[in-house]
Symmetry: C2
Subunit: 282 residues, 2 copies
């Protein structure tokens, strides 16, 4: 397993691999890896000849009051987790190498897609994400790129970017990996104090409640949201940011549920912001 | 010479050529080709194994009151000009194929670079250019892309885009090709009535006057601009949009000339907007 920090070296590696006919699978991460990331790597390993994992905490997707400085980092641990999986390259660039000219050029998505759900609470997030992912795609030159369904809006946004800008690759989205009590795995779970961690299980509980209601035939968005809010409020110190029930492909709000839908929510437990969602076919 | 209209077919062609070790040279155009375009094609042919020329009048770079509808088009003539040059592929996509999902994702450049000079008069121009060129780069996958110095600001903007977003290719800028009387070749010259065409020679005259003054030691931007305006005003029906004297790399305005500079101007003769520039090393 090679660790590459140089952009040129990374691109050269990928060009050589492609010239040999290799399919390059790419898993972009911000490090502090968990089973969610590792499930992406395992799938990439199955589907591709060469697997590249990037570890880069991207400054441009954090707002000025967000957790860039304290975002957890542990390269040694990450490398130890990736080595047994047969990863070919860990791409680990420095911020000054990724943004040496400042950040003048950028990729963004017009319209509503990036302004709702998480975009409403983190206004610079998706512009930062699309820009860094476009940069990484151009450096790593993958045929397939792997993302986790936990970041549901990010997946839709990146699918849109790839289609609209004709990136020559396929976006693969894989299911959210969860802890035993249902909490979606996230590097940010490490922020939670023990009592907060316990309370956080209510997020998935509220999503399961929604699923149950839908199974029983409820189709009213408002009814489902109300029940979820009631469930979430059984726990103290939760600050709900949003619950949205939307079309899976376009993230359009649904009053009456039908087709492929995503139920997504974001909330704060103490100072930690967590997100989760489920995707259902009605 | 193949004519390809399908995006998938274009990308497949390029991937196969790259896999064989070919260097792909790319000349993006809006068609209605002139010697300026052909000089780019000839250079690409010298430096690359495979040459792709795209012909696409890009709607997204025209403002609502601009000349999209009347922009000159003549595919048959363009193909006849390209065939003898040994072009491998003419990529000729339809607008509905390039923008089938609307135009939600886009590439743009923050800061001043796209807001000054032509950007001040054509506010959607550069966002349209960076977006379409990013799309074309992702479809054609070139190693080298060729642009004419006549569009000086476009060259700087695209260099910035390629660097900031890490496109795996080299931008090559070649000198402006001129008519006998010095008028920069442009597809839009076809709009000019005979008397306007005659008058248009004053543009290059004014640039040559600036060069002479600089040779004689003048370094004051204002003095040079004043002399140019006087020269331009020897002709009737000219509506000057700007004369700018800027650093070549950053397009920063210069009061006192030094280093690599560009003297650029835009004006209207009748209804036709023309641009020109010279680049000098002091």
């Amino acid at each position: 397993m090679k660790v590459i920090s140089s952009l040129k070296e990374m691109t050269l590696f990928s060009k050589k691999a492609s010239a040999k006919g290799s399919i390059i699978g790419f898993v972009p991460t911000m490090g502090y890896l968990h089973e969610g990331h590792l499930s992406l790597v395992r799938r990439a390993k199955k589907e591709c000849n060469v697997v590249v994992v990037s570890i880069f905490v991207n400054p441009s997707q954090f707002g000025p009051k967000e957790d860039l400085a304290k975002y957890p980092r542990d390269l040694k641990r990450d490398l130890a987790l990736l080595r047994p999986l047969g990863v070919d390259v860990v791409f680990y660039p420095q911020a000054k190498v990724m943004y040496p000219f400042g950040c003048a050029a950028y990729v963004d998505i017009g319209g509503n897609l990036t302004k709702k759900l998480c975009g409403a609470f983190r206004p610079v997030l998706f512009k930062g994400v699309t820009t860094i992912v476009a940069k990484l795609f151009n450096i790593v030159l993958p045929s397939k790129a792997y993302f986790g369904q936990k970041d549901a809006q990010q997946c839709v946004v990146l699918e849109k970017m790839v289609k609209d800008l004709n990136f020559p690759l396929q976006v693969v989205t894989l299911p959210t990996v969860r802890e035993k009590d249902g909490l979606a795995m996230s590097s940010r779970n490490s922020y939670l104090a023990p009592d907060e961690r316990k309370d956080a299980a209510v997020i998935y509980k509220s999503l399961m409640l929604a699923r149950q209601m839908i199974k029983k035939g409820v189709r009213s968005s408002i009814k489902i949201k109300s029940a979820m809010i009631k469930e979430l409020n059984t726990v103290k110190h939760i600050e709900l940011q949003y619950i949205s029930i939307v079309k899976a492909e376009t993230l359009e709000d649904l009053k009456t549920l039908s087709g492929e839908i995503i139920i997504a929510l974001a909330l704060k437990i103490g100072k930690t912001r967590l997100i989760d969602n489920i995707r259902l076919k009605l």
